[in-house]
Each structure stands twice: as C-alpha cells, then as structure tokens.
Symmetry: C2
Subunit: 344 residues, 2 copies
C-alpha cells in the first residue's frame, strides 16, 4: 500500500525529457525554456511531486535536524525551554529530535551517540547533574557538530553557552528576605556537582555576607532531586531542630512547595513565622495559598536564544571559532509566601 511518491524521473519519462531538465525547471533555472518550465510545473503539480528529502540529505551531507538533550521533559522548566526552541525552529526548515538523559551521564552519552549517528546537524544540551567532564562534548565539537549548552554549565566545554544568572537571582531573593527582616535564613540547595546549585548557593552566601549575617552550616540542606517530595524531606529536617529559621530559600519551586506543605501542616504560619521563596516561578506556584514568591527565569527566551545561536552557527559554513556566552537576567516575583514589609 505504501504509495510511491512521484520522482523527478517519473516526470522526465512522461515528458520525454531528462531528469536534469526537470530538476532545473522546478528550480527556475534561467537556462530552461519557459515553455518547458510550464509543462514540468504543471505535471509536477498534477503528480503532487515532493522532493525526496532523503536523497537531498545524502547529497548535502546534512539532515536539517537538531538534537535537543535535557535531563527530563516532564518538568515545567525544560518543557518551556523546548517550547522556545520549537517556536524558533518552526520558522526554519529544521526539525527537533528530543532526548532525555534522566540526569544520567551514561544515558546522556548514549543519546548523543545515537543522535550523532543519525547525523543531527547540531546539539542543544542541558547537561545532567552528573556530567562534570566536558570531554565528550568537546569530542563532538571536534568532529564538526556544533553544540550549544543551556541553563546548566559544564566548565571546560568549548561550546556556546546560554545560562541564567543564578547567582544574581539567589542574591536578589536573599537580599530581599533580609530587607524584610529575616535573619535566620535557611537554604535548600541541590546536587553539589550542578552549576546552578553552586551559583545559587553562592548568591545566598554573598547576600548573607553583605549584611553581616553569619553562614550557618546547619541551615543549609542539600537535596538530590527537584520534586516536592525532596522538599518535604528537607523541611522535616529543618523543623526537627529547635532553632527554627525565619525564612527558607529553596533551590526551586518544587522543593519550596514540598516545604510549604510540611510547614503549614505543622501549624506554622507562612509568611508570619517563616517566609518561603522558590526559584523558577512555575505557573502553579501562584495558586498555592499563600502564593509562592519565586525567582522568575526567562525560560522561553533561553530556548529561543539557544536555538538562534545554533542555527546561526550552522548557517555560516566557514565556522568562526568565537564562542558566545549569554547570561540572562532572572527576576524576583514577590507574592504572599514572604513578607512585604519588615517584620515587627
């Protein structure tokens, strides 16, 4: 049943002319007689001729496909970035192939390998929390496949990078907490190999330092994942201590939401007793009670920009060695899970 589509030679045969003439006619080549062109176009239309992209791929040694590899697609964060990528790519004739590394370095490598095998023209990658060495990335780059890293950094990778200024976002959040009178600010941080964890942690620490607040080890809790259940765990640990914090700055909204749940269940008032601030500003977050204060990130723009940089690089065949490093600005969105005015 697999209907064979019409090819150039079908048209050529029916019109008793050569394949090359047909090809040129359809491309409006000046050397072709106008009457021939008309005949060819008419028949092509009638036969619903579609150029065979597989043949073109082979000829041009490119697929017009780019590989996107993210830790997971079920999170609002990454799916929104992909959204931005999609929207940019939509206006081009590129297609997206998407892979999930599930935070596994091994798995990431397999995906990259598979996608290199199907000859994607370039990569957009957000490294796993395990990926610490840039070797494999650099191998791909060296073999001629350009690559843009987004959201998460991998130090030493010779790739373009589009990141968010996590340090700044964290600093804003914590400075704001301090200005509203919080003095015992806890931080729930992420996997320590992850660039964003460290940048946010540093932002937190530097904000404390700026206002001469002590760094207190026991107020820094590390979690291994980003979903609410890890927030629940962390918050329970925090509440066990008799020395309660007056604010919690969580590495992301998922964690913050888990924490809020535990805190409210324990009968502690948010924000009167404890302020809570998240990171990501997920759409759901503003429908919690109280709505969650959070650091918004330009996720969609990050996707758009990453795609733009990659496609731009692909379009200039002579590759220039220059690498772009973009640092997008996050923004603190203040809602009711934190105070508006200094406490008492």
């Amino acid at each position: 049943m697999k209907k064979k589509l019409a090819t150039l030679s079908d048209i050529a045969r029916q019109l008793n002319i050569s394949v090359s003439t047909v090809s040129r006619a359809l491309h409006d080549h000046p050397a072709i007689n106008i009457k021939t062109k008309k005949k060819v176009r008419l028949l092509a239309e009638k036969l619903n001729y579609q150029p065979n992209l597989l043949a073109l791929n082979l000829l041009n040694r490119k697929t017009n496909t780019i590989g996107v590899v993210v830790p997971e697609i079920t999170s609002y964060f990454f799916s929104s970035v992909i959204n931005g990528i999609q929207d940019f790519v939509n206006d081009t004739n590129y297609q997206l192939i998407i892979g999930q590394s599930e935070e596994s370095c091994e798995k990431e490598k397999n995906i990259l390998q598979a996608l290199a095998k199907v000859r994607v023209d370039g990569f957009l990658i957000s490294p796993t929390s395990e990926t610490v060495k840039p070797d494999y990335y650099n191998g791909l780059i060296k073999s001629g496949i350009p690559l843009v890293l987004f959201d998460r950094d991998c130090v030493g990778a010779k790739a373009d990078k589009v990141l968010v200024d996590d340090y700044d976002g964290a600093f804003q959040a914590v400075e704001y907490l301090i200005k509203t009178g919080c003095r015992r600010i806890a931080h729930i941080t992420g996997p320590s190999d992850l660039s964003i964890s460290n940048h946010r942690l540093n932002g937190y620490l530097d904000a404390l330092k700026k206002y001469d607040l002590p760094k207190q080890e026991h107020r820094i809790i590390e979690v291994e994942g980003f979903s609410p259940e890890y927030g629940v765990k962390a918050a329970k640990k925090i509440l066990e201590s008799p020395d309660l914090p007056d604010a919690i700055f969580a590495i992301n909204d998922g964690i913050a939401i888990g924490a809020m749940y535990v805190i409210k269940e324990a009968g502690i008032k948010i924000p009167d007793q404890i302020s809570v601030v998240g990171f990501d500003d997920e759409p759901h977050s503003s429908y919690f009670i109280p709505p969650l204060t959070s650091v918004w990130q330009p996720v969609y723009d990050m996707g758009m920009l990453s795609a733009r940089i990659l496609l731009n690089k692909l379009s200039r065949h002579r590759q220039d060695k220059s690498l772009r490093f973009e640092l997008l600005k996050p923004e603190l969105i203040i809602r009711k899970s934190s105070l508006n005015l200094p406490r008492e």
Copy 2:
C-alpha cells in the same frame, strides 16, 4: 573542520577489495572468506567506521523516525505521555520528532505535512481541540503512513487508538461525591468539540442520573483552556450565584486548582462546604492544602502502549487492516479536598 567519516569505499580502497565485499564482510555474509572478514573488521574498527544512515534511509525508503504531535508539551499530562513513548522507543533504533499543535488545527496540519515531508515512518497524534474532521489523518494513512491516535479521539479516523476511559473516570468521581453526601454537584467542562470533554461530561451526567439527581444547566460551566486561570474564572462565576454547589468536579487538575484558590480566598471551607475533585492527578496536586482528590490516568502506559502499537505495525511490512482500540482504566485517588464520609 567537518571531518568526513570513513566510508565503505575508504576501507575497500585501503584493502584493495571491492565495496560490496566490505559491506558483506561487515554483515558477516557466509560467502566471504573468514580472513577477509577479519581484515575488514579490523580496519573498520581502526577507522571508526559508522554506516551512513542517510544512505540507508534513501535505500530503504525509511527513516526510523516517528513523529509525535501533541497540543502542548509544557503540560504534565502530555510530557508524561511523551516520556512513556520515549522509554519504549529507546530500546529500538527509532528516534522521535516532536511537534506542538497548540490546539490549532491549522498548525497541526502544517506539522504533519512537514513531518511527512521528512519521511517519518509513522505518527503518534493527540488531536487538537479543534480537529473535528478525520480527513487529513485518513489521507496520511492512505498514503501509507501508519498512525496511532492517543488520549483524544477523532471520530471517523481509520487509525489505531489508545484512549483513557474518561467516561468511567468521571462517573467514578461523581458517584463518589454523591456517596459522600453531595447533592449539588457542579461540573467545569472543557471545549465542547473535544472528545474527552464530552466523555467526562457524560460520565458526570450519567452518575447524576443513576442517583436520580437532576441535571442543572447552571451548574455546568464550560472553559476554553486547561490552566488554572480558567479555573479561577469558572469558580468566580459559580460563586456569584447565591445557589452554591456542595461539590465541584473539574475537567482537570489545572482548573480544579484555580477553582480551589478562589474558593479558599472567599473563605469557603474545602471540603466541609465544597468538595473539589480534579482529573489527571498531577504530582503537584497532592501538595496543595487540602491535597486534591483527582482521577489518575495511566499516562505513562498510554505513551508506552501507543508506541508499541505503532512500532508493531511498522515491523510487519504486509500491513493488516485490523485496527486496535485500547481503553485504559483511570482510577480515583481520594485526598482531603473531598469528604471521606457522608456529610452530617
């Protein structure tokens, strides 16, 4: 810099044998001398020979790629289905190309067209809420591209279908509400062209009927979208009326969450005064206070199964005309946004 990878003819030249021998040697063809095979394999290894898939695609007239088209990827629901698809496909040598229709029939058509052009071997589609005629789908099928519809139905499409028994899920939810003493149950329904809206609405209506409760038009509110802000709008409308419901069954969790927000802000107690039930059982939903009662759907399995059916179909070259219709069972997850025991 674009390094050219080794080809069969590179190997052949160096070994002074023909390309076909090399090809056969690498495929362990019985007619090839064992010593030749060894030589070839050794050199192939050394040159890091990778078969050029573009050439194979052209030769086999297939790409080992399948197109997935969903209304949006940023929702938990669809991204989880994709997750299931990915996981199934991972163990094969198929790749996924993903498109977003954004609930626009026009856009969906464009995507399908583009993907057909790049010669995907098959489609996994969840139709938009606008897609009412199956013509374009059937066109694709007729042209030889198999197609599996998931989650949302399109009546008349001659495709395999993997759906969830939305009717049953809604019926379960509403029957449970009735059994816990609710008598004035409102329903927030979705776009009326959408199969899932109708099935859930019918489940709601039939449950009422079974318990001799009247269908009350003013308790049925239609929304055009699935995110919380639509739930807010709908709930406001419901609260305007003096005749408050004692339960709200929302078409999905997003709507339910928006509604809960408004209800709680209005100082109405959940579930004491109004029970709220959603649909989808998103991970966030259990961290609201009160945690949301919701109808869980086997999203991941739906993805897995859809992919399995499609790949199965692709593997048997003689296509059989038989179409599968799978109806997966949802499950009511009772939490604290609804009563456990009959009221009063």
